[in-house]
């Protein structure tokens, strides 16, 4: 099968039982997405698939041929952080860091949902979808942080919300030595 992850093409033979999360973590060396519960309850495995955030532990890899998949590794690098990643660092939006990739992918996907005008449980007027702290907290409630960096995460997302515009979910540009490549692995 063929997978497009962070603009890179991977070919892999996939066990039908393998989740998208395990494909990345155990077969492709993309361990940035985390497994916290394997049941879609904690959000640590959140990835962006065709621009939408999903719990990748609840989705089988075989369902994703030719999908555009973005993981935390595709948002930015240590040298070139995505604005959301930079905001998490400056606001201390984490402690142990284990839920963090999921929080960040979720935040990026969430801002896009707001931009598209999708309401949430706390949206008062369905014709006037906008972002405030209550909206951020509600929309991020699928991502659990046991260290409880919640107030700092809200600060980070609020700060980024105004800056991103349409760039919200595009992967970071590649560096010179990281050209598009094909990798063949057996999963």
């Amino acid at each position: 099968m063929r997978f497009t992850i962070n603009q890179k093409t991977y070919e892999a033979d996939v066990d039908v039982r393998t989740s998208l999360l395990d494909l990345c973590r155990e077969h492709l060396g993309l361990t940035g997405s985390k497994k916290g519960c394997d049941h879609g309850q904690c959000g640590a495995c959140t990835m962006l698939v065709n621009g939408r955030r999903i719990n990748s532990c609840l989705s089988l890899a075989v369902m994703h041929q030719d999908d555009e998949i973005v993981t935390i590794e595709g948002l930015g690098t240590v040298e070139d952080l995505h604005p959301m990643q930079a905001a998490f660092v400056s606001h201390d939006g984490y402690q142990c860091g284990y839920c963090t990739p999921g929080q960040i992918c979720s935040a990026v996907g969430m801002l896009d949902e707001v931009k598209k005008g999708w309401p949430s449980h706390v949206t008062g007027d369905l014709n006037e979808v906008s972002l405030n702290d209550a909206e951020i907290s509600e929309r991020m409630s699928g991502n659990i942080c046991r260290c409880a960096a919640y107030p700092n995460i809200v600060d980070a997302i609020r700060e980024v919300a105004g800056q991103l515009g349409d760039q919200a979910i595009k992967p970071a540009p590649r560096t010179a030595n990281e050209q598009p490549a094909q990798e063949k692995v057996s999963a």
Binding site: G32, C96, A148
Partner: protein, 751 residues
Amino acid sequence: MSILGKLFGSDDAETNALVMDEPRPHSFLDHGAQDVIGKPINRVEGPLKVTGRAPYAAEYPAERLAYGVLVRATFGSGKITKIDDSAARALPGVIDVVADYDTFIRSPGQGGATEAPPQGVQEVHYFGEPVAVVVGETFEAARDGAAAVRLEYDEADASYAFAAHKDQGKEPKEDQIPGHSKQGDFAGAFDKAAVKIDVTYTTPSQNSTAMEPHASIAEWRDDTLILHGAYQMVASDQQQLAKALGVSADKVRIIARFVGGGFGSKLGIAPESVAAAVAAKKLGRPVKIVLARQQVYEATVRRSNTEQRIRLGTDANGKIDALSHNSLVTNTPYEQYWEPVAIGTHFLYGGENREMNHDLIALNLNAAGSMRAPGEAVGMMGLECAMDELAEQLGIDPIELRRRNEPAQEPEKGIPFSSRNLIPALEKGAQLFGWSQRKKAGTDRRGEWLHGMGVSSAVRTNMLMKSAAKVTLTTDGRAIIDTDMTDIGTGSYTILAQIAAETLGLPVEKVVVHLGDGKAPPSSGSGGSWGAGSAGSSVYLACEKIREKLAKSMGVAVEEMTLKDGRAIADNRVVPITELIDENLGVIGQIEPGKQEKKFHQAGYGAHFCAVKVNVVTGEVRVERMLGVFAAGRILNEKTARSQCLGGMTFGIGAAMTEEMIHDDRNGKVVNRDMAEYHVPSHADVPHLEVHFLEERDIHVNPIHAKGIGELGISGAGAAVANAIFNATGVRVRDFPITCDKIIEQLPFDA
């Protein structure tokens, strides 16, 4: 070669050791020119974490890696007669089913233990006890294999239900505090008291629920085991693991560079470590085992449930004369650990006549152990709610009640406090929070919401543990820190870098911190909030000696030398420090507790304030605001310290309102063994929390004057929430967590 150098197989590093027998008023951290200590700098490992590049235990590549999934006992007590693995072995991709009855550990190791955890799994003592491991070429094969294993067993009678065994408590062996303790004549004084409170609070079993499940990759290289694990205390965990495997300690190396949260649950080794090591040895290839989230709930340590009877007897003004805090706690029959519920009660308030008894009930439930602030986390919920009840009965402000019971010295040992800022924390918090706006209980109704405020004291005993670190000043002007200390989200990487940067006059970027490798000098590890003070002091002491050597090399007195940005300044000269050393200069710093902890009672103090609203129709509670003020000596990094407090306060919200591990009374099975059923606070449950620190230095605790903070933030936090719920509704729920149903049944029907 120093003794420590020999021990760690390192080079000829000199050692600067300090036993904390005398106060240490001078600290270079107060006189550094680099000006980084205490500053809210970003975590140095932050970019690795936010990009997914920080490797956690299960994320190390290994050649020919096999996957293991543990098989659990599906009964509560008895003996396994057969492990039928035929169906499992027939599955494609299953390599082996490894069952080693004698070697596998029954329960996780307790924090700091240096012996093997209880071993032997043919006898089953609780539902979920791991008894075998299925190893496969892939995770999926191993998982399906584990599901296909059938156990045959003889069930035995056992004790599961707390309610049915409350009369079977036994006085446990003295640990941090005595199991039973008496002073004066409690019964007589309580009998004569003008005002009395006699209340019983219960708290349920809880689970740390760190986001990273327990995980191990075991790989034998010749006769040495390399284990990438998720651990808080590497040095003692190596000893636990070595003893469990029957090999010498120098044949086991644990590596835990990044740990996805611990909160006590990763203090000792967990069952997957031994199983992975045994399977890897047998198969001759590396084996990875990650606990399923359900197994984390079933087979790692829980916080014991408690039943706490609190009796307070005071004079007419609310001055306590009789104080009793007696508790029932539970653990598996073979476990000695007991939740020290009254650990904070011993010294928080005065009162001549005191009684604090703990009785341990043996139940066939998964092991109880340390979870964030063992003792205070639950004990302060009971005590501080009882204090609120006392204030209500006396008709005085809860803060005034605490003022009237502030002891001049430790009330049982009669020794001075090393530092104590309880009342200032309460007063500052009251002012910042707007405490004066609090109304009489049950009177502030706005629409269908009742509003209220609550307060609680916070206290956490400070501990210093033996800890060592090596600091190497390199000829290219960097400082490299090596210690087996861990960073479980606490900020160790960052504060150790700040301590070295300040003491050696280097930009933080010039400090390289290597943590979590069992080959490095053994540290305190992360637990009991002692990490910053202990590991931080070891780094400080190493740097102190390096300073001396630099001064000597420059030919000046150490106190006349200023270090800043890689340069030494003294005697009207400015010299790059790299010119003061000929080769890399390594020093091991080591701190040990001494007489100071006997001469002075050492603890951190604080205050929690909480505002809630409670729906009169549904009983739903929303935490609207929460504010904490904390005094914990020197704050090493304002940003990471604040985050620690946010975490503790949020644990308090969970403990007060949602967290409860439910065991089936018929077989001890954990009923709610996943994150959809065991409710930790989520984003929407937590409002914007405010954290403030009081300026404090404690010269009795360690040379950096910092006390622990990770557990101070949880101490009393749940009580502040509960007291706010009472103030909103007039309803006092004494059975935690305070869920909607327990409130509604006491709300007036015509609400």
